[in-house]
């Protein structure tokens, strides 16, 4: 079927709730109104109020309760309405979710999923546009997944829900509805921790994820002479080091694109990995194209912040010519 990312997410939720009656969905405005982005539309009608719940405005309690519910054998899929509202619950992710298996030596685990739309570009209010994947990826024990296509959104969310460990599932809301693509019907899983090679190439490796995957492909369309290998990272944690390293060994050049601020961003981890395992193969310094080291601006200037195709194009061209 042809679907947008948001429809694919909705489809995955329907499938997983139907196949496992211990899967429950909750969060602010997810039941009655179907979620502010309509990701949970129709679930209340199909599965009822015991399994699809609107919660009070309590991010700490939503994530904390998901941990407890998961520890009790349920498969919670909690929604945090915008990733900018996740920081209050950071404590629960750090203190409980990410380390409960480790702390109890495997006695208690938290097979839970926290879904949250992230990223800029939808003209939202303050605190609605953050990209803090590097911060969450820094927590040992927490998986962080970011799809960029409808098929991956369905397959990766299904895997996240079935995963025996806690998964933060970050959804690129800028491309929620911007295009449709083929999505397999019925059961469809994509393993977490595996990057996808979107296109093979020899000149340069370009790594991106989420909405920036699309800006990257747009930038490459302007560079017909560059034979780029494009990697959609898909999982921030666990990180698919092998795909990254093998590609860079082949091309000798690399550009990393992300929307989050530059300093301390996840590109730093990728470049360190490349230095560890493929330094001798490099023919140019690894470039990164990122947001600036500023908060995401309010709507009138947020497009200045987002790494749009010309910025990506410049970095790729410079890296190839280096």
């Amino acid at each position: 079927m042809q679907a947008t990312i948001i429809e694919a997410i909705n489809d995955a939720l329907h499938e997983e709730m139907a196949s496992d009656d211990r899967t429950v969905v909750f969060g602010e405005d997810v039941a009655e109104s179907g979620g502010v982005f309509r990701a949970t539309e129709g679930l209340l009608e199909e599965f009822g109020g015991d399994r699809v719940l609107d919660t009070p405005l309590s991010e700490i309690a939503i994530v904390g309760a998901a941990i407890g519910l998961a520890a009790h054998g349920y498969r919670p899929v909690a929604e945090i309405q915008f990733s900018g509202f996740l920081p209050p619950a950071f404590d629960q992710l750090v203190t409980n979710a990410s380390r409960i298996r480790w702390r109890t030596r495997g006695e208690i685990t938290a097979p839970m999923t926290v879904r949250t739309p992230y990223g800029a570009g939808v003209r939202a209010l303050e605190h609605h546009s953050e990209s803090l994947e590097a911060a969450y990826g820094h927590l040992p024990g927490l998986k962080v997944a970011i799809p960029s296509t409808p098929a991956d959104a369905k397959g990766m969310l299904t895997s996240a829900i079935r995963d025996p460990d806690p998964v933060l599932f970050m959804e690129p809301k800028h491309v929620y509805r911007s295009f449709r693509d083929e999505v397999p019907e019925g059961e469809h899983t994509i393993p977490l921790g595996e990057a996808a090679v979107r296109q093979a190439g020899r000149d340069v490796t370009v790594i991106a994820w989420g909405a920036m995957m699309h800006n990257t492909l747009e930038a490459l369309a302007e560079l017909p002479d560059v034979d780029a290998e494009v990697i959609d990272l898909r999982s921030i944690s666990p990180l698919d080091r092998e795909t990254v390293v093998e590609s860079v060994k082949k091309t000798g050049r690399c550009v990393v694109v992300h929307e989050a601020a530059k300093t301390g961003g996840f590109a730093g981890e990728l470049i360190a990995t490349i230095n560890d395992e493929a330094l001798a193969y490099l023919e140019a310094p690894v470039r990164r194209v990122t947001g600036f080291d500023t908060p995401v601006p309010l709507l009138s200037m947020e497009d200045y912040y987002i790494p749009h195709p010309p910025r990506i194009e410049e970095a790729i061209a410079e890296t190839v010519e280096y």
């Binding site: 003209r123 209010l125 600036f292």
Partner: protein
Amino acid sequence: MNEQSRPESPGSTDADVAAVSERDVDVATHRVVDADGSVVAPDAVPDLADDRFLDLYRWMVLQRTFDERATKLQRRGLLGTYASGRGQEASIIGSAFALTDDDWIFPYGREAGALLMHGLSMRDLLLYWRGIEDASRMENANVFGFAISIGSHIPVATGTAWGQQLDDEDAISFVNLGDGATSTGAFHEGINFAGVLGVPAVFFTQNNQYAISMPFEEQTAADTVAQKAIAYGMDGIRVDGNDVLAVYNAVATARERALAGEPVLIEAVTYRRAAHTTSDDPTRYRADEEVEEWERRDPVERYRSFLRERGLLEAVDEEAITEEVNELFDEAVAAADAYPERDVAELFRYVHAEPTPELERQLEEFRDLLERRPEMHEFIEHRPKG
């Protein structure tokens, strides 16, 4: 120890175990003017000069007009997402009327009239909703900036109130919040801290019955917000939030207590008649009959009835007020439209007191790119002017 040292099933006992229950707490609702406009508490009518009574009315009309016109601007693409205060005019205006310019207001988004009364320019308020950061300076007004992350401002207000107390100021921190915010961790920590410190803070909850789609009954199992004050050792006041005079009384009283070192939690019971924001569709989660029911409790109409009964309504030139407010709005839109072109340097200027070398480098690189690659501007979407 025995192999079995406790009963197989806890069961119940006949012991009379004392408990405290919300049923034991009588949370009265302060009201001056009834829904039909009649004065139910003549002694409670604030001792205000006639022209102050008329000022209150003018501000309520201004709040309503601002919301209507801002919503229209948003629909025409000339404003970003907007949060209307429609239906909450008595809470917004009655509370601000009881403050002084020295008090700090911590807004949550819907209280346009309160901020304008506090000295903020209408142009800047429009610029804010156009997503222009400069407006967040809140020039000429002790306004802390909007708390878009719900409840996040509550502990901050406690800190400002603490500073006011340390500096022995004759001023308070006045915190606007919604019923949704009372479920956040920040609310409980912030208000508890204020109680412990005994700071001059007033926590003003506009219980407008909905946090986006969540009705108050599902937001909390408590009957009222006001009763929550007791848990933190402070006084709670519950007031009819559609009765502007009652709200004024409640806030004036709370302000006095706060100045004496007793922070207060107020619950103004009102109703959000508009959508949560212009991005929301309330028909998905609430019934028309309910909205109509609250339309009959309209705060502006109720206050008009009071003015009529008081013999003041004939002094009101309705047309002149509407015309004046619309003119102010037109001028503010024109001033917002004339706001100078923005420069990318602005993005980097306020991150630290002194820009770091890395920030300077990022700015220089970006400027260079914008000059060399003019098509970059194709990716910069058309936004509300500013």
